[in-house]
Symmetry: C2
Subunit: 514 residues, 2 copies
């Protein structure tokens, strides 16, 4: 099926869908202008001098929502940056009618990363420019292009049909780039208003150009800072070495019991709740990359972890892919990064690391441990196990007076795993296939989006993570961009998704947490 003229895929009876898409095509130029307008606001959440820009961006976003039919879209002041809140079903009647339909919660964020080193940008970060089909500006992908496309889809429904045929709730926050510290409390405050069955957001990547992807899994996260103190001052290693306790060594030796050289996490109970992927998932994942050689080059890795001797010894030949022609065309990359938990030493520091030599035994050292979780590991439980185990190890290897302290450097985030046969996901898959003219690839992500996990947890949502990002978009880097073609294909995908969603039976609540 050609992906060029997607109108061909509309079934004859779907006159409504045809009209919706026609409207989108007609307004395409204006949509692009609004996109550029949105990009001009330097809505940098991390920098206080942009507080006013944040307010203006939120107001602009609320206006777009109002024009898209969400008349009550409002900019709500909150603890730091305002939140844009809207919902389509406030009148009693509508609410009653909407009760039997699948309701949708749409999430986006209007704040962006700082520009970083301005000198590295070809055109200014907040002066959007179209070059070779790409829109260059901070936020073009992350997240303005990817939330605006859905607002435009809402608008199409408003103008063509008088609105969406099911309840829609919208939350567009301004603190995602700084960790969304205040979002959960806001959501809990407006729980009734925001309650829904399906979560829609576009803040993930496609597998590759023109490859429609649905992300159905995210890893969770726990991030701990550990500090060890063995005394009130550092010591000369000649005079005191052999007697005083080196804080950096305590951490290092403790880490070696947290994570074995073959990768296994040593915390008792760590793997208890891990849900293994199906063999079908494994097969698909292995086929997604043709061997590791070019991947290693692309990401500048000298080697991959599972190539080490100690890992191979542990797994044995049967555990890795069979040494056959097939393995040159396959890769363990996806299953390792998305279906397995990971304990990672994000940072460690202790003692003297400057130029030359300083013969010191340090009394203080710290490390930062990032733990990626998979379904159904629980961040609170893992944090508890982690701390208890580490305390126990340190109690054994260090004398009694040594102090160890823990600090959660970020709130924990649950892993996410959606059911692929849910009506919402089937609607999204169909929409994407029709627009891109190819089967959608359902992928799991190795990354975490804590707010997604929190929303799912709060409302028992089915997540539809319909992302249009590409690696070349270079988010968080200079010269961020977004393919304008995908902006339009995103609008069309959203229209089709919303349309098919409205035709689906009521979304079943997942029986268990994802």
């Amino acid at each position: 099926m050609k992906e060029k003229n997607s109108i061909k895929h509309v079934t004859k009876d779907d006159k409504v869908l045809k009209s919706l898409l026609a409207y989108a095509r007609k307004e395409a130029k204006r949509f692009e202008e609004e996109f550029f307008q949105l990009l001009r606001f330097p809505s940098i959440s991390a920098e206080t001098e942009h507080a006013l820009d944040m307010q203006k961006t939120a107001e602009f976003t609320a206006k777009l929502l109002q024009e898209a039919g969400l008349k009550n879209a409002k900019v709500m002041p909150w603890k730091k940056h305002p939140v844009v809140l809207a919902d389509s079903a406030t009148e009693a009647g509508k609410e009653a009618a909407g009760k039997k339909k699948t309701s949708l919660l749409f999430y986006g964020h209007y704040d962006v990363q700082p520009a970083g080193d301005e000198a590295l940008w070809k055109t200014p970060a907040f002066s959007p420019q179209l070059r070779k089909g790409r829109v260059y500006a901070r936020g073009a992908n992350d997240n303005k292009g990817q939330y605006l496309m859905h607002i435009k889809a809402f608008e199409c429904f408003q103008k063509v049909m008088g609105g969406l045929p099911f309840p829609l709730k919208v939350i567009i926050e301004g603190e995602e780039e700084i960790g969304s510290p205040n979002l959960l409390s806001f959501v809990k405050k407006h729980k009734k208003k925001l309650a829904a069955d399906v979560l829609l957001l576009s803040d993930t990547e496609m597998l590759s150009k023109n490859t429609p992807s649905l992300t159905y899994g995210l890893r969770g996260i726990v991030y701990e800072e550990v500090e060890v103190e063995t005394g009130g001052r550092d010591w000369h290693s000649g005079m005191y070495g052999g007697v005083v306790v080196n804080a950096a060594e305590v951490l290092v030796l403790a880490f070696s019991r947290l994570k074995m050289a073959d990768g296994r996490v040593g915390i008792p109970g760590f793997y208890d709740d891990v849900q293994a992927p199906s063999s079908k998932e494994i097969s698909l994942m292995r086929s997604l990359i043709q061997g590791d050689a070019s991947l290693k080059k692309e990401i500048y890795a000298h080697g991959f972890f599972y190539e080490s001797n100690i890992y191979k010894k542990k797994i044995g030949r049967k555990g890795l892919m069979a040494k056959s022609k097939a393995s040159e065309k396959e890769s363990l990359f996806y299953e390792k990064t998305t279906t397995e938990p990971l304990l990672n030493l994000s940072g460690i520091e202790g003692g003297y690391t400057g130029a030359g030599s300083k013969t010191v035994i340090t009394a203080k050292a710290r490390m930062k441990i990032g733990i990626r979780l998979v379904a159904n590991q629980d961040p609170a439980k893992i944090t508890k196990l982690f701390r208890a185990y580490l305390r126990q190890v340190i109690e054994e290897i260090a004398p009694k007076g040594v102090k160890v302290s823990f600090h959660a450097a970020m709130g924990g985030g649950r892993p996410v795993l959606a059911k692929l046969d849910s009506p919402a996901i089937l609607a999204a898959s169909r929409a994407l296939e029709e627009v891109y003219g190819r089967p959608v690839i359902n992928i799991r992500s190795g990354g975490s989006i804590p707010i997604v996990a929190e929303l799912i947890d709060c409302f028992k949502l089915t997540p539809v993570l319909m992302g249009f990002g590409l690696k070349e978009d270079a988010i968080h880097s200079p010269n961020e961009s977004f393919w304008l073609k995908d902006f339009h294909r995103g609008i069309e995908s959203s229209i089709r998704f919303l349309y098919y969603l409205s035709k689906k039976p009521l979304e079943k609540k997942p029986l268990e947490k994802n």
Copy 2:
């Protein structure tokens, strides 16, 4: 024996010794003035703006040596700072006569540490002041007070006896505080002139106030920087975690095989050449400190290494001191820090250690390892074993492409262990006992003085490390000071030592390296 009036201890026949001491007493005031003069030079080797002060200090020192009878004392330009060189036996006749006598090489250094934070000094670092019996100035202990005392002793011999009755060589360098990088090459260039049997220097500590001490052992040192590189850039731990190799983890896990939690070094062959201390040495060392409680407080240690559960399990009750009243009056401090080798993690750094959280997998990390050696470990051999073992470990736990590099951050230093029954050491012991009125304590140091090891190696010297420093002198810190009483007792100890040394038989060359 009272230490107050040491003249009482001169034997009736030793009229010469009596005259030497009387001269010293008569000139005491002038000696103090010369001390203060010497202290006024800001001879900071680490700072280029003091190059002229370095020259002046060297010249002043050479002048003092000339006035002490070493007529050929000269300031020799060398690679960086000049070296003061002198010897008493250049004329052919003298040299012939001196051939049968024990010859002495005296070492000192005229350079000092920088002042550091001037605001923390009560009086300026280079304006010496006498307060409550202590001379406050940078270099008062380290090393000006402690080398001047010997020059004054030489002067006594010159003025009273016409010179020392055996050959004396003097080397006073200006780079000790910056690691003496050029001294060995200088020594090798002047090898013939500097060759001797006994090495005399005062750059160590006494056990405590009024406790005469001879340091007969020093630990050696090897200092390695290890860097691991697993890729050309860092990676996001969500997207790539589980596949790429974390350089900090490679180092950490490698370290855990270098040194076990119970303290044992894992390098095969590491302990092969270690010479165990005698039970007599052990008994003495254990008796030097009355239990660990106040020592821990004094050095701000929360606990001592050998108090950990894992260590106790390894050693068992028989390895540690018996749990009896005796153990509260003893300490393992000295035997641990002076008779055992140590592998120490001086510093480690990798990944993100700033505020907050950054979910990164680092591609580069490094650690600095300081290894203290005891007799008869060899630094070159240990370095070789260390590197080979670490390479082997990393080859096992990391994939093939991972790079590891080693760099010796300082030249290795051999350990030093002198024979306590050597004539020079017996002469020094007697001298100190007579001055302080108490038996001398022979102690080993946990620290290293690489130049001592190098000189000993070069000339097969017996080291006489006659130190008068005290912890309260606060060397390398603000408000460094030196007890003026010990300056004078040092002069007297030196006189007596030189006198008794001249009466001893020719120093036997040690059969093996120390």
